[in-house]
């Protein structure tokens, strides 16, 4: 093997090509760590819920409007961001800008609606441990949404000044991967806080 590497060296890509590069691994590690963080947040919810007195749920039947449509909007934004990434891949700048811009607007609407939900809650952060868990978990998710929005805005700007090409676009793939993560993790948060009470958890 060693002989072959030296006798017949192969032609190798220089730097990241397409979505392949070690930067991809770096973002993968970041996502793994962040996913663990949300895992512990949801563990906290289930653990505290399992050991709590009856009546712990501040809302036995959490309202699914506007949270459910809002969830669908966020998940849809993942597809729009993917559409933008495909645009870069095909060297179609218009499609890329529509994708990143569209995902940004959808993400911003999600954040605004979530803010409205917080505003409408009849209880505050310190009402009981349920309320604390709800606000801190969705709050930390919101922090990730805001970071994701900054990333989408940056991708939009960098695409607008024509930085990327089908070959050189590792930043796009990394940024869009992060946005997918933000959206997927929300599905877990949403299921935990909005759906499991209907299934009877902690009621």
């Amino acid at each position: 093997m060693a002989d072959l590497i030296l006798a017949e060296p192969r032609s190798l890509p220089v730097g990241p090509i397409g979505r392949n590069g070690i930067g991809w691994w770096g973002v993968g590690a970041l996502v793994a760590s962040e996913a663990a963080l949300f895992g512990y947040l949801l563990f906290s919810y289930f653990y505290v819920g399992a050991t709590a007195q009856p009546g712990w749920l501040a809302e036995p039947y959490p309202k699914l409007f506007p949270s459910l449509p809002n969830t669908i909007l966020l998940v849809a934004s993942s597809f729009v961001a993917w559409f933008g990434e495909k645009g870069v891949e095909k060297d179609n700048r218009g499609q890329a800008l529509i994708g990143f811009g569209g995902a940004f607007v959808m993400g911003a609407v999600f954040a605004a609606v979530q803010g409205y939900e917080w505003w409408m809650k009849p209880y505050g952060l310190g009402a009981n441990s349920y309320a604390s868990l709800y606000f801190v978990t969705t709050g930390l998710h919101m922090a990730h949404v805001l970071v994701g929005l900054v990333i989408l805005a940056a991708l939009f700007g960098w695409t607008a000044v024509d930085y990327f090409s089908p070959r050189r676009r590792i930043s796009v793939s990394a940024g869009v991967l992060y946005w997918h993560f933000v959206d997927v993790v929300w599905l877990f948060v949403f299921t935990t806080y909005y759906i499991t009470p209907y299934l009877g958890y902690a009621r």
């Binding site: 060693a2 890509p13 760590s33 963080l37």
Partner: protein
């Protein structure tokens, strides 16, 4: 026309012209600019090591003051509050600021050399990891200096850590400092993982990786997924204290045990994270002095991985006395007992290596060999407390203190000091003094056992831990006095170690490239290594590239002086994860201020959070934002975007 995206790496011989060119490419700018912006893993590694040793000394002095207070009954050198802060800060320092960072330092320095590479996968992330570690250490210690150090033990149980019972800034310093330190640990862990899987020399397939690298890899995988648990725990505590949330307050539906779960979900894998790399050091360096390969290399690698996997499932053994259901305790007790099996595999592999080898007794050998004994003692006392009824008897007594010191000093400090004797010539180009080394070893070894062996008995006689003094007539007086004497002897031993380092740095015998006749790649380059590590990228054909003539392990021969040149710029090679086939030419980043700027921004942000000053936090946050933008801005030199090239250039 855009520049070519593919290239066949030139193969060539090591030669002075190539070296001069690589030196110019890889050298860090001299002076303070280079000092603040360097991304060279060797400089960063040494900074880690020096900082961690300074903190070891500080934590040691704290321990000595504690031992003075406990030398006899009813002493009043310290007030109870001072005692609380001192023993908590001692624990925090040793466990968080010494034990893990020292291993990161060695790994940072050695990994690219062991892997035949030119730097870590993410050099700037490496610099960030160090700067944030330094910032967190300063942050945590500034609390201690103004009398607001942690005061609830290093594992900081609620409700005592809540504001009602602990109104000062102590816990806020500790909570925020730990979140800050967690950032450093996490980015460092990510860097090690990617470095391990992507940047090993061509031919260094997964079964040829030295055990030390396996140790740091498993520790890093653990850190990546468990550090968020403790960061979250401390964040929730801080929210409870400053924003009135109810996570840990039972009167409003909170759950104090949630703290313990989150802390120990992190805490126990962390214990393995601070010993597995050190065990790896022994697995790689001990055989060098036995003049033979490690017995059961593959088994030891698998044992390392399985200890880490099992290590995720033992955390509840810290909570046996909290009234959890019997089934849960049985499960975790079983896991805690099973984990001794892979640990024993490693121990027997070391013993067999000594047995079957021709040991050369050096100071480093003594540290490594004695570590086996200390590991067994610490392991057996751990095995005992893995049993629930035994734990109920022994928990919160000095028996546990003795156990954890055998584990942490025995499996971390002893291997680390041995590793310093072993790799010091590589770091500095000079040997450490063997004569002083013997004094160093025997003082540390005898002092340590004199101090901590009797402590088992103190615990069995019922002395509780964490009390600032004790009445006479309990049968604890003589034992405590012996422990205090032993601790001072041990401290003198550590002092001799520092003196030896200091003297050898100036006056040590000049070491060649490979003073010990060791088999791995770091010994094939000069001591200290040049900025580019290897003039040509080594191509590896066996586990012991430098012992191939004696061992005849495989068919081929490693090629150390003929290989890929990669001299078109700051370049390194990426290889596939399992077979280590060349996969990609990596463009490595130049020195950068972004990591330092980001660390400063984070430090200001955390000071703002501590003081609850929105403006300070805002300034810090803005700095963080700017640094990240500077860092992540796509660069043509790193092939993150196409270069600005007018169309006319080729027209």
């Amino acid at each position: 026309m855009r520049p070519a995206a593919f290239r066949t790496p030139e193969i060539g011989e090591d030669n002075p012209i190539l070296r001069a060119r690589l030196h110019a490419i890889w050298e860090t700018t001299p002076g303070w600019r280079g000092w603040l912006s360097t991304v060279d893993h060797k400089q960063i590694g040494l900074r880690y090591i020096v900082t961690a040793f300074v903190l070891l000394a500080i934590g040691g002095i704290e321990a000595l003051v504690i031992r003075l207070q406990l030398a006899g009954p009813n002493l009043t050198l310290l007030t109870p509050d001072q005692y609380n802060q001192l023993f908590s800060t001692h624990g925090m320092t040793m466990i968080f600021l010494y034990a893990s960072p020292i291993l990161s330092g060695f790994s940072n320095y050695l990994w690219p050399l062991i892997f035949g590479s030119r730097d870590m996968a993410f050099p700037r992330l490496n610099a960030l990891s160090y700067w944030v570690y330094l910032a967190a250490a300063l942050f945590l210690y500034s609390g201690f200096v103004i009398g607001a150090g942690p005061n609830d033990g290093w594992f900081n149980y609620v409700p005592y850590a809540e504001k009602d019972y602990n109104p000062g800034l102590n816990q806020d310093f500790y909570a925020l400092g730990m979140v800050l330190l967690g950032i450093s640990t996490t980015v460092g862990a990510a860097n090690f993982i990617v470095t391990f899987f992507k940047t090993r020399a061509p031919g260094m397939s997964i079964n040829r990786v030295p055990i030390f690298a396996w140790g740091t890899l498993t520790a890093s995988v653990a850190n990546l997924v468990v550090v968020p648990a403790v960061s979250l725990a401390f964040f929730l505590l801080w929210m409870d204290r400053q924003y009135g949330t109810q996570f840990f307050k039972p009167e409003h539906g909170g759950q104090p045990l949630l703290w313990q779960h989150l802390f120990w979900i992190f805490g126990h894998p962390w214990v393995y994270a601070i010993v597995l790399p050190a065990m790896g050091m022994v697995s790689d360096a001990l055989p060098v002095f036995c003049r033979r390969p490690l017995v059961g290399h593959t088994l030891v690698a698998l044992a390392t991985v399985s200890v880490m996997i099992l290590g995720f499932g033992v955390w509840v053994h810290h909570m046996f006395a909290t009234g959890l259901p019997g089934l849960a305790m049985s499960f975790f007790s079983g896991a805690s007992i099973i984990i001794t099996v892979p640990s024993a595999v490693t121990v027997f592999a070391w013993i067999a290596t000594i047995w079957l080898g021709r040991p050369v007794i050096t100071t480093a050998f003594l540290f490594f060999a004695s570590m086996i004994l200390l590991f067994v003692i610490g392991g057996v006392s751990g095995f005992m407390t893995a049993s629930v009824p035994v734990d109920w008897q022994l928990t919160d007594t000095y028996f546990v203190v003795a156990h954890l010191h055998y584990v942490l000093i025995g499996i971390n400090v002893f291997p680390v000091v041995g590793a310093t004797y072993f790799w010091f010539p590589k770091f500095t180009g000079r040997m450490m003094d063997e004569r002083l080394g013997r004094w160093n070893f025997w003082t540390m070894f005898l002092g340590f056992n004199l101090g901590f062996l009797p402590m088992h008995l103190t615990g069995l006689l019922g002395m509780p831990r964490r009390v600032y003094t004790y009445p006479d007539g309990m049968g604890w007086d003589i034992l405590n006095l012996i422990t205090s004497i032993g601790s001072f002897a041990f401290a003198i031993g550590v002092l001799l170690f520092f003196i030896n380092c200091w003297r050898s740095l100036r006056h040590g015998e000049v070491a060649g490239d490979n003073p010990w006749g060791a088999p791995t790649l770091e010994w094939s380059t000069s001591s200290p290594p040049p900025p580019y590590n290897f003039a040509v990228i080594p191509t590896v054909a066996s586990r012991h590239p430098l012992w191939e003539d004696q061992l005849r392990e495989g068919e081929g021969r490693s090629s150390l002086f003929r290989g890929m040149l990669l001299d078109h710029g700051k370049e390194a090679i990426a290889t596939t994860s399992l077979d280590a086939d060349p996969e990609r030419i990596l463009e490595m980043p130049e020195d950068s201020y972004a990591p330092l700027l980001l660390a400063i921004g984070l430090a200001i942000l955390f000071v703002g959070l501590l003081l609850m000053r929105g403006i300070v936090a805002g300034v810090g946050g803005a700095l963080v934002f700017l640094a990240l933008l500077l860092w992540l801005w796509p660069r043509a030199s790193l092939k993150e975007r196409e270069p600005d090239q007018p169309e006319a250039a080729h027209g």
